[in-house]
Amino acid sequence: MKICVLVKEVPDAAVEKRINASTGRLDRGGEKNLNPFDTHAIEAAMQLKEGGALSVDEVVAVTMGPESAKRALTKAVSLGADRSVHLSDEALAGSDVNGTGYALAQVLAAESPDLVLLGQQSDDGECYTIGAVVADHLQMPSLTQVIKIDVEGGALRCERQAEYGYDTVQVELPAVISVGDAINEPRYPSLKAIMGAKKKPLETKAAGDVGIDAGRVGYDNARAHCADFAAPPAKSAGQIIEDEDTNETVEKIVAWLDERKLLA
């Protein structure tokens, strides 16, 4: 059985993210890293592989992005993936959620995985939706924001929090599952795994290699076009108290609360 894990390279958490005014796209300059949510998806794949309830032959990391996105794949491999696939094509640049999900579904279809795992959201786009888009194209059952996966009779018993409490859902394979960060504590890669990651197979594919229809991807074909970036209405600036002397800080907070008659 094969597990594909979708990963994404995102700006490092410390980088201030902004829109490039001339292109209308996210400025992707600066330090980058593997999307933190994706490390939970890789860990979930590794735990399924090591758990033995499913016979997992390989874990494949898959990404779509420019040349630099290879680093996210190398990181994913250092965390345990056996090999990786990089979908990279100028024609894909600027794709919206619809186009990105479609393109990823095509590259996944070529791999015919038994399970696709991904993080519940990317640190930059914050769309939470790629899993659902990919699942519809692949015609696989899907669940997002899953925080527990158990294998039961060849199917997955998944738990997640939804609108009315915790739901338990039985999902038949093949399936697409996005995971929340509460699902596990990702391991740190060993030095050996980091050193060895660049030697594991990395395949680069162009849009045409996996039969992607050029009319459905890229900035010009985005079905949802983002424009007119505006600043949100200004919120009143709050008061910041630096905690230098905790007793003093507490007094300040208590005085603030008392002023507003919040202390009974």
Partner: protein, 295 residues
């Protein structure tokens, strides 16, 4: 005809508040566009009485589909069928988890543009334009649709519930579900984990997040809440981790509160949390990171 189709989520005989807000907003936009707002309900044995309630919020027609509840993919099939029958130009969802899954899947199915976390929708040249805050709400982008159907998924509590006093016809729609849509089955829905606590009536809430470090970090919050005469609330991360009760959770898949005082300890302030508490009258946040979005 054109029009707006709104998904209405229901559970145990009542509609979700965010769905009612979405129906109200759909009706407002439809009237501005000179068209109709329809709603769709998917469930097991949905009564005429329940389905027709949506008329009071502005839906002129309610499609009723017999199918599994609480899962996204059967609803995608149902909405595809309703749009094929009704020729709707927009699909609208209130905030919440299922709306994201259904809306995104529907966009894939119809090759449609989709925008999520929408906080405002406006009419421009006879079309809907969705406004979405991005990059931790530092900017608002306007999204224009270039597809036959536009999918709008709103942020939690984005739309106000408005009763118009109208009435709706209920139309049964037979849907043949796709094979994959029936391969996920609900085993248990809406399990409440932890003690049942009431936070919605509290004037003062002391809320804790992952920054508390461990489950025992809540002991101090309990003590503080007791001294202030308030209650303790929590973020999703700590509820998922088992540190505190689900019934005390604020945000996207939890509760929405607006107490006189909201005191947040160790909460960075993810959007999913903020949408549930930003209407609080006074907010005090304690955090080690001065760049945390809670500030």
């Amino acid at each position: 005809m054109s029009g707006i189709l709104v998904y209405a989520l229901h559970y145990e005989g009542a509609f979700n508040k965010n769905s009612l807000g979405a129906v109200s907003e759909g009706a407002r936009l439809a009237s501005e566009l000179g068209t109709e707002c329809h709603a769709i309900v998917v469930g097991e044995g949905v009564s005429d009485d329940l389905a027709s309630q949506l008329g009071a919020y502005g839906a002129s027609k309610v499609y009723r589909v017999e199918g599994p509840e609480g899962l996204a993919q059967p609803v995608i099939d149902a909405m595809e069928a309703a749009i094929a029958a009704g020729g709707h130009e927009y699909a609208l969802f209130g905030g919440g988890l299922l709306g994201f899954e259904i809306g995104a899947g529907l966009a894939a199915r119809l090759d449609a543009g989709v925008c999520m976390e929408v906080t405002n929708v406006r009419v421009e040249d006879g079309k809907l334009v969705a406004e979405r805050p991005i990059l931790q709400d530092s900017q608002i982008s306007s999204v224009h649709y270039r597809s036959g159907v536009g999918v709008i998924i709103s942020r939690l509590n984005a739309f106000e519930i408005k009763e118009t006093g109208g009435s709706a016809t209920v139309e049964d729609l037979a849907v043949e579900f796709k094979a994959h849509s029936l391969k996920a089955k609900m085993v248990q829905r809406g399990e409440q984990r932890g003690a049942d606590v009431n936070i919605e009536d509290a004037n003062i809430l002391v809320a804790g997040g992952r920054g508390l470090g461990k489950k025992e970090g809540f002991d101090a919050l309990e003590e503080l809440a007791g001294a202030l005469g308030g209650a303790v609330a929590a973020t999703r991360a700590v509820v998922d981790a088992g540190w505190y009760s689900y019934s005390a959770q604020i945000g996207q898949t939890g509760k929405t509160v607006s107490p006189k005082l909201y005191l947040a300890a160790g909460i960075s302030g993810a959007i999913q949390h903020k949408v549930g508490m930003q209407a609080s009258e006074n907010i005090v946040a304690i955090n080690k990171d001065s760049n945390a979005p809670i500030f």
